[in-house]
């Protein structure tokens, strides 16, 4: 009999707390940033498609659904590490290896050679190339994400991926990299 009472007491307690918890979960739901958005902010947004998905957002969704986190070459190891932290999984080496530290590049159209085919314009995921049919095209350097997607379609190979030039603003105090001269 005592056992019976105990069971009832515990059972009803469990029920009450369950109800309270359930209510709280509904009533005080925290609109947390969905995981996809969090992943998306970590990805470099080059929209290069090297991960096999058409853009960063789709890849973010794929990661959220359990895809590998090491498919983003432009992001490099740093991105993989951040993703690993976020997803709570082991950081893996970048798929395809090698290029651990990607050099930042931007597309540059050798405008004299451009035949104005607009193929690169169609390829650019961020509309960073301007131009019209049969007219010279040019790259908006500041919008270019360096994704390489315009290089392939160019029929005359007039697009170069040039490393971003160092300026005084982007110089990182590599004093030892400065070539020194003789005193006189």
């Amino acid at each position: 009999m005592t056992l019976f009472y105990a069971l009832i007491a515990l059972g009803s307690l469990a029920l009450i707390f369950g109800l309270i918890l359930g209510f709280a979960a509904v009533r005080f739901r925290v609109e947390s940033n969905p995981i996809v958005d969090q992943i998306d902010t970590i990805l470099p947004q080059t929209q290069c498609g090297q991960c096999g998905y058409p853009g960063c957002r789709p890849y973010a969704e794929a990661i959220a659904n359990g895809d590998e986190i090491n498919k983003c070459p432009p992001g490099g190891e740093a991105t993989v590490k951040k993703l690993a932290d976020l997803m709570g999984v082991e950081a893996k080496p970048l798929a395809g290896g090698e290029q651990a530290d990607p050099v930042k590049t931007v597309a540059y159209i050798r405008e004299d050679e451009c035949i104005g085919c607009t193929k690169c314009i169609q390829a650019c995921p961020v509309d960073a190339i301007v131009g019209a049919t049969r007219q010279m095209h040019t790259v908006l350097i500041d919008e270019c994400t360096g994704c390489d997607l315009c290089v392939e379609p160019c029929p005359v190979d007039c697009i170069d991926m040039l490393p971003v030039k160092e300026t005084k603003q982007t110089w990182k105090w590599q004093l030892n990299a400065i070539p020194v001269t003789q005193v006189d």
């Binding site: 990805l43 050798r110 961020v126 301007v130 131009g131 049969r134 005084k168 001269t181």
Partner: protein, 895 residues
């Protein structure tokens, strides 16, 4: 407020946390008066000696300038001009290592002094009180004055502040060891400085002006007190000697007890700090009319024999300063610009003095020992005790090493003034400041990247949306097409018709003349092409290159300054600039007056618009030409036909234009990529052009046949070509016997670029491109050919010429050795066959079939050209060349 002023007037000085007491080392450079140096052989005047955008260059290489003459004029945000420090010749304008820790090159004007030292006309102001605020600010601006204490902030910006200024603080602290430039200036020119202060007072009307001087400069204090005697509102305040009391924010705290909130500027709390040197320069600019062309520089350190202060012209190479004062370098010599605490070492002594250069320090290893090895941090927090900003340097150091940028921000890294006090006291000799600088640079980069990623995302999404929308629209259109056709299409045709009519109507009289001129020009051009105009071309190329480089750099600089925050604009501007440069070049070539079109305004559209505008202008110009010739015929009989005819006419005109344009472009193109290469390429191009001309004459018939590589493709291509030819023929019938001349010239023009373009290009990519262009052209030419049904032999000939070139080039860039070999073999076989055919078709050259044959030769050579593999291409090219030669000979024999 009143209380505060009273306290200050009573001589109260507040204190700053931290600080260090490095040995002063100032006595050795104060024994002598400020010296005048002999004129240097060369002055390197950097265009950017301040924070802000470059001024606009208003002199050019080879120009003679007078002392004080402006070399740049202000343009855009915070740009400050620079002036010629002495009279002489501008021997060059080029990027030179800059007075910046990175020593990255900066565009500089190099002046060879003529020794005369002739001033330009000066406009001293006798009564400055009569000047308005704006006039005074303008004088300061035009005189190129920027902060001379080290930062180089444009003084006119400060002088023109819209905020109410309560305290004008004059920074005469000079807390860095060794430096005595301000000290000596105060001793010798206290009156001038006070006059400068009074000008500032006139501009800002502060309640009180406080001159802060460290107590280790008794002479300067006495001189300033004496000079300021007559003005009650100027107080000379002595502050204890502690480094870094001369930091702007530290000085404000010392003299007023107030702190500048993080992220604000002193003007936000009613303070304004000016360096004494700057104020002296203001006085010089206003009362004597002299722009800022010289400053006091302390040249000191144990390796200098005559340590002291000198008046150095801006742009004087450091080497000159050192040599004049006697310099005996030691191994591993450090030459520091600035003081021992915050100065930076120079990688070369061929750097010019800039407005902010207050000291050149060349120490030996006894006085300033080389930094020892970095040891482990023991968290002794001696650094924290020394930090004038109350930061926790050792914590920052841990975070910087582990790249925890969030933590760094949390610990206020960006409030660090990089004074070096922490590294000075660190027993483990950790280069703390270096860590912070690197971390700061990294953080800034990350932030920039974050912003960029954000924008990329936005753009990507916008694009996606747009594409979807377009897709949808297209689908909708498909559905509604039948209905739309009836009114929409008709309307369009009618519109086109109307346009054509309008054009031909009102341009009648003018267009005839224009056409005549244009024709004449075209002929002339054609004639010009024959003689060796490579000299001109080279010059043009060089000019274009220079203009482009300069513009690019400028655009870049504007971008980098962060002054011109609008990235898009600058990118587009650069593109426009480039496009314009090109346009300008072309304009002269073509004499197409119609081109000087409305200057594009809209950001994005601008680049596009410019390009479109150009194209339209061309079209218009030539359409007119064509129209006049084909006028009677094009008189619209049938709506549709007329439209078609117009289109054809336009297309032709364009082709002509392009041909001419391309001709010039092809020559120039090789230039901009690489200077050296360009020069070489030009030379080679010239040589080749000659050869090509000769070859072209020889080749004529034989070569066109060497082309067909792939049977199947050829067949298909032939079929297509034939189909096209038929179409063309029909069209042609409509556009009557549209003059041979037009066709002639167009064909000729087309032929030219083909000859030139590929040869002026050295590397494979370029050849590929050239080939592509050539191909495109050739196709067009061929089509034209087809259209002119009664095409004479001449036309065919010239067309042959046109075709001959790309064929010889085409296989060169071929992808695959094997293919090339096969192709070559086939080509050889074909060539033989062709030769035979040729013999037969010699007479029947008028037939359309022939011209369609020539058409066929084009697509066949196409596929191997989209090459990638350089090596292979090179081999293939060699083979092909050999083949081509053979063919030539064969051709010669045959003909």
């Amino acid at each position: 407020m009143e209380k505060l002023i009273d306290q200050i007037k009573q001589g109260k000085v507040w204190s700053i946390p931290g600080g260090v007491h490095p040995p002063g080392q100032k006595l050795q450079s104060t024994t002598q008066a400020i010296a005048r140096l002999p004129l240097p052989d060369k002055l390197v005047v950097s265009l950017k000696q301040h924070i802000g955008a470059n001024g606009k260059l208003i002199v050019e290489k080879g120009q003679q300038v007078l002392k004080g003459q402006a070399l740049t004029k202000p343009s855009g945000n915070w740009s400050v001009p620079v002036h010629a420090p002495t009279s002489g010749l501008i021997s060059d304008i080029c990027p030179m290592p800059s007075a910046h820790p990175s020593a990255l090159p900066e565009l500089s004007v190099i002046i060879e002094p003529d020794g005369e030292d002739n001033w330009c006309e000066l406009n001293p102001v006798t009564d400055a009180k009569a000047l308005s605020h704006d006039e005074l600010v303008d004088i300061i601006h035009q005189s190129g004055i920027a902060g001379m204490g080290g930062a180089g902030f444009p003084t006119y910006v400060k002088a023109d502040t819209r905020k109410a200024i309560e305290f004008l603080i004059v920074n005469a602290v000079e807390c860095e060891p060794y430096i005595t430039a301000d000290d000596m200036l105060m001793r010798e020119h206290a009156d001038g400085i006070i006059a400068g202060i009074e000008l500032m007072q006139q501009l800002l009307s502060p309640q009180l002006t406080i001159i802060g001087i460290e107590d280790n400069k008794p002479d300067a204090i006495a001189a300033m007190k004496l000079a300021a005697q007559h003005n009650d509102s100027i107080i000379v305040q002595t502050v204890p000697t502690v480094y870094p009391s001369g930091g702007e924010k530290q000085l404000i705290k010392l003299l007023t007890g107030k702190e500048v909130p993080s992220g604000s500027i002193p003007a936000d709390i009613g303070m304004l700090v000016q360096n004494v040197g700057t104020l002296f320069a203001v006085n010089q600019a206003v009362h004597e009319g002299k722009p800022l062309i010289e400053r006091v520089v302390t040249v000191t350190g144990n390796t200098i024999h005559k340590q002291g202060n000198v008046w150095a012209l801006l742009g004087t190479e450091i080497k000159h300063l050192l040599d004049c004062q006697g310099f005996s370098p030691v191994p591993q010599q450090r030459v520091v610009m600035g003081g021992p605490m915050m100065g930076f070492t120079l990688p070369t002594v061929r750097i010019g003095v800039v407005k902010a250069t207050n000291c050149i320090l060349a120490p030996d290893h006894q006085e300033l020992a080389e930094p020892g090895d970095e040891k482990a941090c023991i968290r002794c927090s001696a650094c924290a005790d020394a930090c004038p900003a109350s930061l926790l340097p050792q914590q920052l150091q841990w975070f910087a090493k582990s790249k925890e940028y969030d933590k760094l921000n949390e610990h206020n890294l960006f409030d660090c003034i990089e004074c070096g006090a922490c590294a000075y006291v660190c027993p483990s000799e950790i280069p703390l400041v270096q860590y912070y600088r690197v971390a700061k640079a990294e953080i800034k980069e990350q932030q920039a990247e974050q912003i960029k990623a954000e924008r990329a995302k936005e753009r990507f999404e916008a694009r996606k949306e747009r594409l979807e929308r377009e897709q949808e629209e297209r689908q909708n259109r498909h559905k509604r097409k039948p209905a739309a056709k009836s009114d929409g299409e008709k309307q369009k045709v009618a519109d086109a018709l109307a346009r054509v009519k309008a054009k031909s109507d009102d341009k009648d009289s003018k267009s005839a003349v224009a056409a005549a001129i244009a024709r004449a020009k075209a002929k002339k051009q054609g004639a010009e092409i024959e003689p060796d105009n490579s000299e001109v071309a080279k010059e043009r190329a060089a000019r274009k290159e220079q203009a482009r480089k300069y513009k690019e750099q400028k655009a870049l600089e504007q971008g980098e300054e962060g002054v011109d925050k609008d990235d898009k604009k600058s990118a587009v501007a650069a593109a426009i600039a480039r496009a314009k440069a090109k346009k300008a070049a072309q304009a002269t070539e073509e004499n197409a007056s119609a081109e000087t079109d409305a200057a594009p305004k809209d950001d994005k559209k601008a680049a596009v618009a410019a390009a479109i505008a150009r194209a339209k202008a061309k079209k218009a110009a030539q359409a007119v030409e064509n129209q006049t010739e084909a006028e009677e015929d094009s008189a619209p009989v049938d709506d549709k036909k007329a439209a078609v005819a117009a289109a054809i006419a336009r297309a032709k005109a364009k082709k002509v234009a392009q041909a001419a344009e391309n001709q010039t472009e092809a020559e120039e193109d090789s230039a901009p990529v690489d200077d050296k290469k360009a020069a070489v390429a030009a030379a080679i191009a010239r040589a080749k052009a000659k050869k090509a001309a000769q070859a072209a004459e020889n080749q004529t018939e034989a070569e066109e046949d060497s082309a067909p590589v792939d049977d199947k493709k050829a067949a298909v291509a032939a079929a297509i070509a034939r189909a096209k030819a038929k179409k063309a023929a029909k069209e042609q019938a409509q556009s009557d016997d549209s003059s041979q001349q037009t066709n002639d010239s167009s064909a000729e023009a087309d032929a030219q670029p083909q000859a030139d373009a590929p040869e002026s290009n050295e590397d494979k990519k370029k050849t590929a491109v050239a080939a592509a262009i050539a191909r495109a052209k050739a196709k067009k030419a061929a089509k034209e050919q087809a259209q002119s049904d009664d095409s004479s032999e001449q036309i065919n000939d010239s067309n042959d010429e046109a075709d001959a070139k790309p064929q010889s080039d085409a296989p060169e860039s071929s992808e695959d050795k094997k293919k090339a070999a096969v192709a070559a073999a086939i080509a050889r076989a074909k060539a033989k066959k062709a030769a035979k055919e040729q013999a037969q078709s010699d007479e029947s050259s008028e037939q359309l079939d022939d011209s369609s044959d020539t058409d066929d030769s084009k697509p066949q050579v196409d596929e191997p050209e989209s090459s990638e593999d350089k090596k292979k291409a090179a081999v293939a090219r060699a083979i092909a060349r050999a083949k081509a030669k053979k063919l030539q000979q064969e051709g010669n024999d045959k003909s």
